[in-house]
Amino acid sequence: MAAQQSNSGGSATRSAGWIRLLLSNRKAMVGTLIVLFFLLLSVLGPVLVGQDPHAFVGMPHEAPSAEHLFGTTGQGQDVLAQTIVGARTSLAVGFATGFAVMAIGAAIGMAGGYFGGWVDNVLSLLTNVFLIIPGLPMAVVIAAYLPAGPMTILLVLVLTGWAWNARVLRSQVLALRDKDFVSAALVSGEGSARIIFREILPNMTSLLMSGFIGATVYAIGAQVGLEFLGLGDLSAVTWGTNLYWSSNNAALLTGAWWTIVPTGVCVALVGFALTLINYAIDEISNPRLRAEGSWSRLLKSRNVAAGPSTPVVRAHGA
């Protein structure tokens, strides 16, 4: 989706300008603040809670009260404590998986796009096959044979998730290959590694960023899903196992909605915030989307509806 920048060189100043643009975008600001909040929570969480989230602190399925703000689980554990502590593993696995998915997808996609020929044919076929094989059943089959835990989840999610980024980045590399500055570098006999890292990579920052963010959203969601199925480490406290246990304890059929709401809202907030940032990246790197904001504001300020025909706005400069 994101359009590429058109030249190389001056990458330091460009990325500085890029970050400034990102910060001046309202969507990006909101998204970044939410993500930062949850990152802080996952770092400080266990300290804030100050107790073992496994501890039995009350009766099973106690409704929210002053003592237990979010109530208790089916085993009498504090929901708030479990939600806060769960953020750490869930986010760590999510971001690590997101990064690995992006890196592997980028490596495979870029290799195919850059080298072309039979390398590209083989890698493209591999990418298309992995894109089409449904991820969850494959992840379940593999995870079932491995010891339960974050590493297993990371591994199966990378295996089932890399292909999308590979496809996107391959087509971007193909487009960049035809650009003058890459052709110039090729003609002047620069090495492949140098061209990839000096000429091509700097022009894909926005794509790599949005690829990473998209992969992280996928990883957090899929991780929660796998853990909900019971494929996570059930003795650990994560967002996914929280939901596994509340489902296992038939929480909803006893009316204990508070055992699922906080975790679900946290997962959704993180996912939503990351998607907002991705949206903002798209807006910034795609000038047409950015331009749209400025004219629609102008038309609104003049009370002109943006219909299918050319608007007529007289009284200039008011």
């Binding site: 004219w295 025909s309 608007p311 706005v313």
Partner: protein, 319 residues
């Protein structure tokens, strides 16, 4: 001006709203076209020719905004029409022949549907009647009516362009805008298409606003010619006056830059420099950085378009 004009464009101003501020693409452009007349509007790419064409039909979408002037068609004020009035006005009164038929035709609809579409939208006819008229229109442009069920990608470039012309004829409008109707084609096909347009005009008697970057194309075809440079009119004159006695240095340059149809071949000289960046147009006369005859005033003062010979107007400090 003898008869009352069918189209009158007065001080038309079109701006593009960009994040960096408004960019004026068409700046106080005025011209009249009489019934049956052919006005050639010429300029380099980026001079605002197509913008003028689409502004007349109010087809530009935001960020383009019309910020001043008037467009009257047979006395009707186009700029104050509402959506429904515009819908009824378009194609019935003014039809547009697009530059690239490949892009102007909908790839997933048959040729027949695309010709019949405006007929159904404007006339009370059944789809079957519309399709019959579509077949007649194809014959009009020398295409076999069995092609009605073809899709655009199944036709050759020349055929596609003729289909676009057939669509423009669908309602027999009194006025046609042709936006470089032949640029995407090779020279032989170009000739054929122009021939076809001339014949149709002979038979149906519509007026034409013919937009081109290639003056040689409209030399024999147009009644009058207007030269557009960087969104402003540089010169307007009767076609023969403009070719025999170009006043504006830009026109002189343009004429020098194509081989003459008649008479001895002049040297291809072209105009040095490039068209100005419209986000940051030059001060004074917009042509002065490229003008061989520029002097001090040209850098500071914008020349106004005024009568410099009978029915011959120019915007240049030399006159």
């Amino acid at each position: 001006m003898a008869p009352s004009p069918i189209l009158s464009v007065q001080d038309l101003r079109v701006e593009f709203m960009t994040p960096a501020g408004p960019v004026c693409a068409v700046d106080n452009v005025s011209f009249d076209i009489a019934p049956g007349e052919v006005l050639g509007l010429a300029g380099e790419s980026g001079s605002g020719k197509s913008t003028v064409a689409q502004a007349i039909m109010r087809l530009l979408r935001p960020p383009a905004v019309i910020t001043g002037g008037h467009v009257y068609f047979a006395g009707q004020d186009v700029l104050s029409m509402n959506e429904e009035q515009l819908r009824a006005f378009r194609w019935r009164k003014v039809a547009l022949v697009f530059q690239s038929a490949m892009n102007a035709l909908n790839p997933v609809l048959t040729i027949g549907d695309q010709i019949a579409d405006p007929i159904i939208a404007h006339d009370r006819v059944t789809p079957a009647q519309a399709m019959e008229r579509a077949a007649d229109l194809l014959k009009l442009v020398n295409i076999d009516p069995t092609r009605l069920t073809s899709y655009p990608h199944q036709l050759s470039g020349g055929m596609r362009q003729r289909v676009v012309i057939a669509i423009a004829m669908a309602l027999k409008p009194p006025f046609l805008i042709m936006d470089e109707p032949t640029t995407a084609l090779d020279v032989v096909v170009q000739r054929e298409i122009l021939q076809q347009i001339a014949e149709l005009k002979e038979r149906l008697g519509f007026s034409i606003l013919f937009i081109t970057h290639d003056l040689s194309l409209i030399a024999e075809f147009s009644t009058r010619i207007a030269i557009l440079y960087a969104g402003k009119l540089a010169e307007t004159a009767r076609a023969k006056d403009l070719f025999s006695d170009p006043k504006h240095p830009y026109t002189q340059g343009l004429l020098g830059s194509f081989p003459s149809v008649r008479g001895p071949r002049r040297r291809l000289q072209g105009i040095p420099g490039t068209p100005p960046d419209m986000r940051n147009p030059p001060s004074g006369c917009r042509f002065h950085p490229r003008c061989p005859q520029a002097f001090a005033t040209c850098q500071t003062e914008q020349p106004a378009l005024r009568e410099i010979a009978p029915e011959h107007r120019g915007a240049c400090h030399l006159y």
